[in-house]
């Protein structure tokens, strides 16, 4: 064990010596340092959430709020009632118009269906 420690210390010393002697002559590429820092920082940047994550998060957090729930239900109920009223009014006008036409067709031979 002691011998192993000695051997590894010798290797470290040799490696240090070798590294001190080593000189890199090749030029670094442009913006090398900035690129290195960018690579280092990249894994730590938070990933942007997907659309589905946003929707599920919204359903889980915003929709159950009482104020939102009350407003949402009131809005949809009002929209349903308004659509029903509008459609019913149109249908009533259509039916009454048809019956008026029918009354005239019954009485006017020149407008009777041939």
């Amino acid at each position: 064990m002691a011998m192993n420690t000695n051997e590894s210390g010798n290797h470290d010393e040799a490696l240090h010596k070798l590294l001190k002697e080593w000189r890199a002559d090749a030029p670094l590429p442009a913006h090398f340092q900035a690129a290195v820092w960018r690579r280092i920082e990249q894994p730590h940047a938070p990933a942007s959430p997907s659309f589905w994550d946003v929707v599920t998060n919204w359903i889980g957090t915003v929709a159950p709020r009482p104020a939102f729930a009350a407003a949402y239900i009131a809005l949809f109920l009002t929209a349903g009632v308004a659509a029903g009223l509008t459609q019913a009014r149109q249908e009533t006008v259509r039916v009454k118009g048809e019956l008026g036409d029918r009354y005239i067709r019954v009485l006017d031979p020149y407008q009777a269906p041939r």
């Binding site: 929709a63 349903g80 459609q87 249908e91 009533t92 020149y110």
Partner: protein, 161 residues
């Protein structure tokens, strides 16, 4: 999450229920009018706010007028048929065509007189204000507007433009 979905679904269900209930209630009068044996008379009662007594009297007038109207329809159809045959048989004006056209005009005049008499009688059975409204309405639909042969002529002239 479950609570949120439940609220969203509840909103949609309430919207559909609100739509259905309001539509059903608000169209019930129109549906009711269509259910009877003579929906056009039920419509007349509803449109001109007739009392039961007025409606009964108008129904009697209506029933009395219908056979006259059916007879006029029969005569008009027979006359039209005769005129079509005369027109198909020649390529010039003949005395037969001339008299057939005159007969068609006479029938039309008689039909209009009968119809107008019926309309006046019906209008007199209604409350005065409703009677005036009724007369204006039938006049618009029968005499003032392009109805029957007049309507056909208008269509013909539209094609010329």
């Amino acid at each position: 999450m479950k609570k949120g979905i439940l609220i969203l679904v509840l909103g949609l269900v309430l919207a559909a229920a609100g739509y259905g209930c309001v539509y059903f209630v608000c169209t019930s009068s129109a549906r009711h009018l269509q259910c009877g044996s003579q929906p056009e008379l039920a419509w007349l009662k509803d449109e001109f706010k007739l009392s039961d007594a007025e409606f009964k009297r108008i129904s009697q007038l209506h029933a009395a007028y219908l056979p006259q109207c059916a007879e006029m329809c029969r005569q008009i159809e027979a006359q039209n048929q005769r005129l079509r045959m005369l027109l198909a048989a020649t390529n010039q004006m003949t005395a037969g065509i001339d008299s057939a056209i005159a007969e068609s005009a006479r029938l039309r005049g008689e039909c209009q007189r009968n119809m107008l008499s019926h309309f006046y009688e019906v209008s007199r059975t209604m409350p005065p204000e409703q009677g005036r409204r009724y007369l204006a309405w039938v006049r618009e639909r029968t005499f003032a507007s392009g109805a029957g042969m007049m309507r056909d002529n208008e269509k013909h002239h539209e094609n010329d433009k």
